[in-house]
Every structure is written in C-alpha cells, then in structure tokens.
Symmetry: none
DNA sequence: TATGAATGAGTATTCATTCAT
DNA sequence: AATGAATGAATACTCATTCAT
C-alpha cells in the first residue's frame, strides 16, 4: 500500500527515525535500509528527501541542535530569572538532554556514536547564547574567570563525559560548576 | 618473500602499524588490508595474531594506554617534583599526547577517531594514579575542591575537546586549570 | 504552477529536450528525471506521453532522422544543382550535422551516444534518396563504381568515424570521397 | 567449495567470461554479478582482480585487440606474401574477427555494444602496422591514394558497418576495397 | 608461521516506473 | 493534462573473515 504524506511531515519522520536508530545502534551500524524498513517505506524514498546518508546525518544533528537552540533562546528572554537562574537553566537543559538520550553516547569500538558530534554542536550553541549572559555576569562581578566562555565549554563537555562514566548525581555536577566558575555554593539549581 | 619473526615482535609490529593508520584515517576507514599492505604481510597473518578487527582495536588502545600509564608512574615516583610539579607533569603528559597526535581526534560522522575510544581509558588512568597525589594535595591544603578527581577528569576531557576546536594556547589551558582547581597563578607549568 | 499545453506541442517539447540532453550526456546517463527537471515538468507527465524511456528514445531518433530526410528531399528536388552539386550537398548535410553536434558521438564504454543509434538510420536515408541520384550518375558516366550505394554508405560512416578520431579537415574528406567514387578532383565542394 | 586457481589463469578466465557476456547482452546490461555468477565465483573475487567495472572493460578490449595485434605482426613478417597478399591478409583478419563475433555489434537502444570501442581500437592497430606496408605500396606504385592510411581506416570501419547491416558478401567487400584503393581487380583475396 | 586467493553478506545509491490526487 | 510522492529492483563496490597450501 502506498501512503502519501505531506513532504515536510515525511522529512521530519525520517529525521526522527534516523535519530532513534543512530542512538540505538550508532551511525555506521545504522544503514539506510534499516531506516526505511522501520518506517515501512521504500529505500528510494529516503533518497528522495536526502541526497545521501551524510546529508541525512547532518539534518539529524541540526534538528537536535535546533530544539536546544530554541529552548536556550527562551531562557535568555525569561525576565523572571536572574543571572544564576539563567545559568542554571541553561546547564539543566544540556544535562537533561544527555540524561534523556543516554544512548546518544553509545560509543563502542568499531561504532562511533552521535555524541561527539552533538556535543561539539551543543557547546557552540551554548557559547553563542551564553555569551551575553557571561559578559553581564562578569561586569556585575558574579564571575571572575579570565576565559568564562571556555570554562563553560569545558564544564559542558567535561560533565557530559563524566555522565557517560556513570557519575550522574546532579549535586556533584553543581559543586563542580560552582567551583570552576567561582560561584557561591547553592546559587545554581540543577534538576535531578 | 616469507619473513618469519618472533611472534611477540610481530604482534607488536602489527599493533603499532594499526595505531598509526587508525590515527591517520580513523578506525573504520582503516581496513585490515590496509594494515597488512603497509606491513608487507599477508592479510591472513593478522588473523593469526588477532581473532578479529575488534580484538586488534582493543589491543591498540591497551597498548597506547600502557605507555601513558608507565609515564605517569614515573612522574609519581620522581622525588624531584613537588605537588604542583607532579600535577603539571601529568597534565603535560595528556596534552602533549594530544598535541603530538592531532590525528587521534580525527572524528567525522561515520568515522570515529582513536581519541573517542581512548579518552575514557586515559582519564581512568589519570584518576588511578593521581588519586594519591590529590589526596596529598588536599591534606596539604594545596587543593580545596570537593571532588578533585572529578574536576581533574573534567579538565582533561574538556580541554581535549577545546583543543579539537582550535583552542591550542597552553597559557589559556593553564589559566583554566588553575581557576578550576583553585591553584595560585603560575604554579602549574605547561609546555608549549 | 500547472501549465497546460497543446498535446502535440508538449510532446515535441519533450522530444527536443531529450535530444539535447542525450547529446550532452549520452543516452544512459540522461535520466527521465533530468528531462523533466529541465522542462519544469513533473516526471509523470513524460510517462503520459511516452510509454517508456525506450519509446522516447525511438521518437527522438525518428525525429532527428525526419529532419535529415526532409533536407535531402529538398536537395534532390533542387533543379539548380547538377549531379556533383547534389552529391556534395548531401555529403555536406551529413558532415555538417556531425560537425555541429559533436556531442552526438559522445560514446564511452557504458554510455552510448546518439550517434550509435542514428548512424544506421541515417545511412538508410542516404541510400533511399541517393539511389536515384546515383543511378543517374552511373548512366551519365559520372560514376563507375560497381556498388555505388554501398560505397556511399562506407564513406558516410567511415568519415564520421574519422571525424570522431580528430580528422576534421574537409579537404581531406573531399579527396577521400573523390578517390573512392572516381570523381575528378575539385568537383565536390565541402563546407568548412 | 573453494577452488583456488593460478592468478593469471583466473584473471584471463574473468576477462573471457566478461567478453562473452558483453557480446551477448551489451556492456551496461552485463552486471559484475552476472559475470561472477556465470563463473561460479564470489562477486568480491572479480574486484580482487579488477579495481572496477571500467577497468575490467578496458582489459577486455585490450585483450581482444592484442590478439589481432599479434596476428597482424605475423602477417607483416611473412615473406611469402607480396604487397597484395599482405593487404588481403590484414583485411581478412579484421573482417573475419567481425564475422566470428557478430554479437559484438549488438547495439540496441538503451544498450550500447562493444563494437564502437573495439572498432576504433582495431583501426588504430591497423594503421600502426599497415603504415609501413602502405608506404611501400605507394613507393612501388601499387597505391596512388593521397591519404592511404585514412582510406584504409574508412574501409575497415565502413565495411564493418556494412556488415552489421547485413551486407556480408566478401566479393562485394573486395570490389569496394579495390575501387577505393585503386587496385586492379582480383588482386585482393578475401575469405568467405 | 605465513600466504593470498576466495568468500559472501552488506552498503549506499540510482532510476525507470506507478499511481493517488 | 499534470503533479510529485512513493516504489522496488538493480548495481557497483567494500571488507572482515576463512582456508587450502
């Protein structure tokens, strides 16, 4: 049976299924056939929407990033949050993304995960959006780091790696962040 | 021509060539044939020493780790170094490994670099060895971090990622380390 | 946008675009999609007019042949031309077609050019029309060849092949024709 | 069952089977799988010997040409033959090659044959070897053509095309050759 | 120990063709 | 008349792995 769908919808459907499989099995071990089969769709259809596997991969990463991007935008505009509130919210966003997609980090020999690509992309986003926040924080004296942007990147990528190794307690993460940024204890609130 | 060698020697030879090629081209894009060709050896011989590509990969990683492991051991035993000296030397070890093997991090979607696999292993080693050092540092009041081991891990993996994105200036790395560990400026010395 | 056209016009439009692309890229490397895209038309429309790619190909060839057919007809009826004039005009027609459509002969292993298909058809046409001319020529003593029709075919197809190999000088072609047909030097005039 | 063969033998075996299938079905319609299947051999083996389909094709053509090349060499060295004898022998060689591989010329829309490639290659060979013969013939006054090399090419390629269209009578070919080269009737002997 | 020919399952990609709208 | 999303079979090519010698 032939089921036609709105192109945008179909495209999104493919991206989402690819994401799921990339998480589950890693990028290389997920074949274009796998994706088509799971969607009950002909292989050719995927190539109707994406020129190549590589293009599909970048769409998947971009799609993941965009969601995070939008969320951070909202946080930055939220006037109900002060400096520490915003910082905490942003960090939460990242760590919860990782928490909810543990398979993202499925790196095993012979099969690299999506994690490394997404992590880089995410920390780019973090810096872009958090730039203003950090400058404010520095001016207001909340932060005294010489390279606060870099420190933030390190924290995000470093804690993500910690997470991968099983250190998942947010209170530990909180302490590490506070120490590295020289922030008073308890100012940052991380969700479990 | 058929050249017989001491088995251990041969095995090591294969591991080393695999290491070189994994660095150069990434793990997936290095085929067993590539390795055999470079060694002027028949494909079958590699399978005589290693059950599978996967087994070879893990030997390569283990071999790389062991070298680092030994080096750290030497640093720890070096009585000519004080706390900061040892800490600096250990950090140097990691960052210079990365500096000298930039191809280690040759990660592209669909082709993982050695680094992806080694990173976890390396930070395990760091923690194992640096455990004593850090405990000493804490007792002696050099370090006040609540979770100094985790902080170290974050620094190693986070700075490695920074490095990948082009932030290669050691003086920046030094500042980040000093701030995160609450160490007085200039105590740690990183080689260029 | 949906543009309706007169069926015959549309059909001709498709044939012409196919011709252009077949010349440019060869027949196999021209996909039905390519043709549709260039015409700003949906793929399905081409299948509305032609049952299959094969059918389209034969229409294209037929269309090309018909043009040549008509031209030769005009030459034969042209009372202003004598025997040598007509013969020269016919030969010109073929060689200028090749000269003006060098891509016609775009043959590479695995991708045949239009010429491969057209050549036989063209020489059939040549013989059909030139039959009368040649008989006249023989009767009038202008030509003494035993099989002038075959000789003509050989010249057309052979010189076309010469052309493909880079021998493009019309004065060389002229000499070859004159020698093969036993015609006095300078009687045939070939355009550059 | 696994049957190992001498590499050169295997390579030749593949080339020959490819030749047969290319003749039968045309180049494009013959897949690498087809060739493997007919040989009762794994697909991969063909790629062990030939980098790509394209490489295999050129080996097939080269292999075919080499045989002809050698035969012509023998004729040229044959002191028992005079000018006309050698010329006849060479022409015989070509036309009998065509006669024995009629499927070579299996050109149908959507499927180009090997013929065009081989024809070009053959006429190159003809010119190379016949160069000396023709110069001799010209000096000795046997031939008066202005461009005897080109005329020879035209004859070979043109008569081959005639053959394709069903004109297979060698006596007709003989006359055409004699007329085009200005050779006395009956000097050239073509086998049936 | 060592060779390298042989295997075979797998992979991305293309494209003529169909069909519901 | 026209659209374009969907199909599915085919294709070239790769590579880890095996095995007879």
């Amino acid at each position: 049976m032939r089921i036609s769908k709105d192109p945008e919808e179909r495209k999104q459907e493919i991206i989402e299924m690819a994401m799921v499989l990339f998480e589950e099995k890693g990028i290389q071990k997920t074949s274009m056939s796998d994706i088509a089969k799971k969607l009950n769709v002909a292989k050719g259809l995927i190539y109707y929407y994406f020129r190549s596997k590589e293009e599909l991969i970048s769409y998947v990463i971009e799609s993941f990033s965009m969601v995070v991007d939008e969320e951070i935008g909202k946080i930055m505009k939220n006037e109900g949050l002060d400096f520490y509130g915003k910082l905490g919210a942003i960090l939460n966003l990242f760590f919860s993304a990782i928490r909810e997609h543990p398979s993202l980090m499925n790196i095993t020999p012979g099969n690299s995960g999506m994690f490394e690509y997404i992590k880089t992309r995410l920390s780019e986003i973090a810096i872009t959006h958090a730039g203003v926040l950090i400058e404010e924080g520095k001016k207001a004296g909340f932060i005294e780091n010489k390279y606060p942007g870099y420190m933030l990147k390190i924290l995000i990528s470093g804690i993500a790696d910690l997470y991968m190794e099983g250190v998942t307690d947010p209170s530990i993460h909180r302490v590490l962040i506070e120490e590295a940024l020289g922030i008073p204890e308890g100012k940052i609130v991380l969700k479990a």
